[in-house]
């Protein structure tokens, strides 16, 4: 269930169009939403911020559709997931190829930064696998919540997690992690 303070803020926005209340919601959730996009786009900050902004605008426009049945963060992440997949579909031709090759190149240049290696490993994953992995390992959502956010069945989420983790762990071991 949504927390009381979130519900109070959402009510202020939905009923009175109180922009100050929405400002508080944006401040509270900007970090997890931008971090989600940063991981999905493999570190593309400009694109992440654009997508995060679109997410919050969609949340504002559709705020009356939030009924408090799930937490506000789950509802918001569901919008973020849809925004991300709309963008993936729109860029289908070039997005994965360009970004993945750029990250792989930087990883192969001897950059020892763990973050870069993680992004390089994540570039090996399919978009659904990457989403499930980041939602679980970075944002800490349990499988049922990931299922709600993505709209993917729980068993499929488990499969995505298993396959994604195997791919990433193999890549990272090949690059000297985990002994």
């Amino acid at each position: 269930m949504a927390s009381i303070s979130d519900i109070a803020l959402v009510t202020q926005v939905a009923v009175f169009h109180n922009k100050q209340a929405f400002d508080q919601l944006v401040r509270k959730y900007q970090s997890p939403v931008r971090r989600f996009f940063l991981n999905q786009t493999l570190g593309n900050e400009q694109l992440s911020d654009d997508l995060a902004q679109e997410t919050f605008i969609k949340a504002y426009v559709n705020i009356s559709k939030f009924h408090g049945m799930s937490s506000f963060s789950t509802w918001l992440m569901r919008i973020a997931y849809n925004v991300y997949y709309d963008d993936v579909r729109a860029r289908k031709q070039t997005y994965d190829i360009e970004d993945s090759s750029a990250v792989r190149q930087s990883a192969n240049n001897g950059d020892s930064n763990i973050k870069m290696d993680i992004h390089a490993a994540m570039a090996l994953l399919k978009p659904d696998e990457r989403t499930c992995i980041t939602l679980q390992l970075i944002d800490g959502y349990p499988i049922d919540q990931i299922s709600k956010i993505t709209g993917i069945a729980e068993n499929t989420v488990k499969s995505h997690l298993k396959r994604g983790k195997d791919k990433m762990a193999n890549y990272l071991r090949e690059n000297g992690y985990g002994g």
């Binding site: 401040r27 911020d49 993680i118 390992l137």
Partner: protein, 132 residues
Amino acid sequence: MEDKNDILLKQLFADAAKQTIEDNGFTERVMMNLPEMTDPVMAESKVHRLSQLWTLFCVGVALLAFWFAKGWPVLESILSGGKQMLINTIEVFLITAPTTEININPWFVVLLLGFVLVFLPYQTYRKLSATL
């Protein structure tokens, strides 16, 4: 149960999970780009308010026109003329009524009596029984 892959990834993702992204003006940018929301109720009240303002404007214009056209003496003369006409009519009626011959139709008297003695009590009874 956690396998080796889980343990490795959890260790590597531990820092990423703690990462907090600084706002750095992001919220301001979002707030600046928010669209104006208008719901049907608000829109309706806006139309209502505009209609009230238009009515007020029209009344104002009419009052000004009345003032500039020196409307009050005209109105006063109409009213006093009307009053005089009414008084004259009553006066003529009172003077001529005693000498005026009125033809009374017996059927009219029967209908009037029927109305007063039958129809009115019946309707009164119906209304009272419906209320009680």
